[in-house]
Symmetry: C2
């Protein structure tokens, strides 16, 4: 495939007002990068014909593929089809199949007015993408050397529509495959990873490699283009092996979104379960894990023990010990992990106690956190100083990542405490 440059134009004043997040651009971009199409620009513009027209003119001057989202519906400010057709000298014509579909649909709906039929007006000669997730059809056409694809705006329609119709439409134009893998890393920062590989990355052409920072960890993305998927994979293999060797224990997974996603199969494979006793993270570790469908096969549950009294009442911690050592202490962390393990019967007990801020306790610095993991015969503790300048959200998330990292290291036979 020649290197098709793509611009995604999202039409919607509500995005510019900050009322909704532009997830369509991300989701479409992700699908495109998987098939090796380079997205060079995202543009968001409001429901305004002149500004949209100007944006389309800019896009055709710098991109080969223009993908629009939004502005296909029946309300008066939906104007994407009109403007795009006009910019490429095409007429809108009524599509009989879509009219039939709308007539059928209308029978079961109140509030369906005449202007809904505007949705069936499509650029002459286009490929129609029937919308199985809503009513406004999408479409694609090629004109003046450009490829134009239009998708509805609501993410519940745009994403399955682009997957079902957009991706196959574009794939059919290409004879090249682009494949990429992300190597996820915890315990070392993006700039250190960048330093480690900068010399190599600067001279790489295909495959390429780039580090990206995430909120509490980072990743290294490796991408190759080739005539087939197998060929691309083969080109990446030695690069990935080299990166994994240099990064060693810091690598927690490949092509996963977060560390808990990497732990899940490890636990399943070994038939082990875990439970959590959370003070400063307040349920975040449990919440994150149960975001994963099927989590119940390895996660039993746990306790959120925000106050000292509840630490004693729910988990049976000794109030005198808490008093003596302080709620934020290695000893309390140990007791949390051991007690929740014992009470739930889990193989692994996780405990967290610390100061997430913004207020301190007069003793510890904000960001002081003890994360513990109790397993048969042994309890590990990490004492963290996550820094008083970090947000409450960062401290909580990072504490969770450490808990998961301790599990990962123990499950894969690595040393657990130091990092």
């Amino acid at each position: 495939m020649r290197p098709y440059n793509t611009e995604i134009i999202c039409v919607g004043t509500e995005i510019l007002l900050g009322h909704i997040t532009n997830t369509d651009a991300r989701d479409v971009s992700e699908m495109l990068s998987r098939i090796g199409i380079n997205v060079k620009y995202h543009t968001v513009v409001g429901d305004n014909p002149e500004r949209l027209r100007a944006c389309v003119e800019i896009a055709r001057s710098r991109a080969d593929i223009i993908i629009t989202t939004g502005g296909l519906g029946p309300t008066c400010d939906d104007l994407t089809k009109q403007i795009l057709a006009e910019c490429f000298g095409l007429k809108l014509v009524q599509n009989d199949d879509e009219v039939r579909f709308l007539r059928e649909y209308i029978r079961n709906k109140r509030n369906f007015t005449q202007n809904n039929f505007q949705q069936a007006m499509l650029p002459e000669g286009c490929t129609v993408f029937h919308n199985l997730w809503g009513t406004a059809p999408g479409c694609a056409f090629q004109a003046e050397g450009k490829i134009v694809i239009m998708m509805p705006g609501p993410p519940v329609e745009c994403v399955p529509m682009f997957r079902t119709y957009g991706v196959p439409y574009l794939r059919s134009l290409s004879d090249e495959e682009i494949v990429s893998h992300s190597i996820r890393v915890f315990g070392i920062g993006e700039s250190a990873v960048d330093d480690m590989f900068a010399d190599e990355m600067n001279v790489m052409v295909n495959p390429t490699m780039a580090p990206y920072a995430k909120e509490c960890d980072c990743l290294l993305q490796v991408t190759a283009k080739a005539g087939s998927e197998e060929e691309a994979e083969a080109m990446m293999e030695p690069v990935i092996a080299h990166v994994k060797e240099r990064l060693g224990d810091f690598v927690y997974g490949m092509d996963v979104e977060c560390i808990e996603e990497a732990i899940f199969p490890l636990l399943k494979e070994k038939g082990l379960t875990f439970a959590t006793a959370e003070s400063c993270t307040g349920g975040e570790i449990a919440k994150r894990f149960t975001d994963i469908p099927g989590a119940s096969s390895v996660f039993l549950g746990g306790a959120v023990v925000y106050t000292n009294e509840v630490k004693a009442r729910l988990l049976g911690l000794d109030p005198e010990m808490i008093e003596e050592k302080g709620a934020v202490s290695r000893e309390v962390a140990v007791a949390l992990a051991e007690q929740v393990r014992r009470l739930t019967g889990a193989d692994i007990g996780i405990g967290v106690t610390g100061l997430a801020g913004p207020d301190g306790d007069g003793v510890h610095e904000v960001g002081t956190v003890f994360v513990s993991m109790a397993v048969e015969g042994k309890t590990f503790v990490r004492a963290l100083s996550l820094g008083p300048k970090r947000t409450r959200s960062y401290i909580r998330r990072m504490s969770g990542n450490h808990a998961y990292d301790m599990m990962r290291r123990w499950l894969t036979g690595l040393s657990v405490e130091e990092i």
Copy 2:
């Protein structure tokens, strides 16, 4: 203020690859729309000097304010400052305060390399925004009739930086105040709210009013422009009173971000505490509440009881009752709320059990959830059918909103069960 048109340029190949969602653009847009600045375009461009330069040229041709996010860090592909300075004919000069800060910072860090000092190079004569949430400073300058503001890319830095420095910087340029309030609503959808006020909204000029849908609730935003804040407030007062009266019990708060934020002061005021027993929400209700700094004054803790065995072991639920009624049942919801209340000594016990999906249990439809609230002498239950087509994330979040809504209604003397 003259109608400043704004373009937000987000720099980052990872956004174009679909690896991250562009939340910065949304968050900055939202803050700008609150102070009455019109965002006309969002542009995303990769870490490429030529393309960024071209985007800046387009932006200066169509906007008065250019706000960039990303590309201020130390890695080799961070180039926003260089390009923006160059486009406006400014040199980058070393900022001594920032160098001192980085020297100080470096002492406590491994992995801090020489290229980090590049962060202290800033456009000559700019206003420096010291980064309290990371290391790369932001800045602002005015040149050639344009206002330029640069912010770091990571949302945990960009959002507080823009709030702390960007918004006051822009406000100081204006002699008009724009003030807005959001009236948050739960239990009635955006289109119903829209219907209710459509006729009025269409003819309003100043103040204006607009409804917005959020993930699991909605809001009505009222905005006024005037010579002073007091004047703007006075203009909005009757509008807000009218809206509140028409929406009645559905209004849960003003200028809050979420329903839990509205519950917090109600609980504090009455000196009441609560605890949670969560099955399908898996800790999400506790997590959300403990996102609020100071949550410990009213939230005691709770249990995440994902499996039946842990429901019995941690909270003492009768295994036979669970067996007989099923884990997803009104009876289990009641027992969860009552038991967690009893065990923790909280004034209010919250229980949730249900099917968040995507897999069903062969008995209930995905989205079936029982939310319960136990208070002195009475336990309330809401039986919800949140719909099999909804995502796991929506079902979990919505269940939490119902739990909070039950507390809100009870705390304010409203009927609790029906909605």
